[in-house]
């Protein structure tokens, strides 16, 4: 999954290079959303301070 996220960013950059700016921004936001969802998936432990 993580490699897939990097791949999506690579695709975003390639699309941007080839002149499809709106498409690249759309793919960027999809990728960023997936990154955020994967981040939420990973933060399973609650943060607390035990003194």
């Amino acid at each position: 999954m993580m490699a897939g996220l990097f791949l999506l960013f690579l695709i975003t950059m390639v699309i941007a290079w080839y002149g499809k700016k709106r498409a690249s921004i759309a793919v960027f936001f999809v990728t960023l959303l997936l990154c955020a969802l994967w981040f939420l998936h990973h933060i399973s432990d609650p943060i607390n301070i035990n003194l």
Binding site: M2, A3, L5
Partner: protein
């Protein structure tokens, strides 16, 4: 601010992010410290931060491109802050070796926050460019801008490969100690 000056500044910013990502690779391969899932997400945050500036290099300076970088930096800062808080209690240790006294996730948080500040400055002093000026720029992109764009492209491609070697198609281990492939 002249348009080309803003392009130079954006180029320096993209090179700065590239330097950070290459530094992460140095820690990974020369020091033998594997990136954890949160570490990889911060690398993604760096790429998101750089992407807005890359759009500036490709299409000319636009406040929308700066907005994209800010969103990427906010995501990256959130991940860094999470990792800082996981280890903030004294004695709990950290992930990875500190560099110049601070762990990489702390340095990453500083980079993200400083970037948001600097982008704010650029929004104040340099985005009122005519559409015709941007259009002319995108027809004749300077060679240095193309090279810098492709440097990040190559670093991103490298991260696809190295992340796949570490994690495959499954979830990355929380504390990786070896490559999967």
């Amino acid at each position: 601010m002249k348009h080309i000056t803003a392009v130079y500044i954006n180029s320096a910013a993209v090179l700065g992010v590239s330097f950070v990502l290459l530094g992460a690779y140095y820690i990974q391969f020369a020091e033998g410290e594997f990136p954890c899932p949160l570490c990889l997400l911060q690398r993604l945050g760096m790429l998101a931060l750089a992407f807005g500036a890359m759009l500036n290099l490709r299409y000319g300076i636009s406040s929308a491109h700066y907005g994209i970088s800010i969103l990427g930096a906010i995501f990256g800062a959130s991940v860094s802050a999470r990792q800082i808080l996981l280890h903030i209690v004294p004695g709990t240790g950290g992930y990875g070796s500190p560099v110049l006294g601070m762990h990489l996730y702390t340095w990453a948080f500083i980079v993200f926050v400083v970037s948001i500040f600097l982008i704010g400055l650029m929004l104040v002093i340099g985005t009122d460019y005519e559409a015709s000026e941007r259009s002319e720029y995108s027809k004749r992109i300077p060679q240095f801008a193309k090279i810098i764009f492709f440097i990040v492209l190559i670093i991103t491609a490298a991260n696809v490969v190295t992340t796949f070697l570490e994690c495959g198609l499954t979830q990355c281990p929380d504390n990786p100690t070896s490559y999967k492939y």
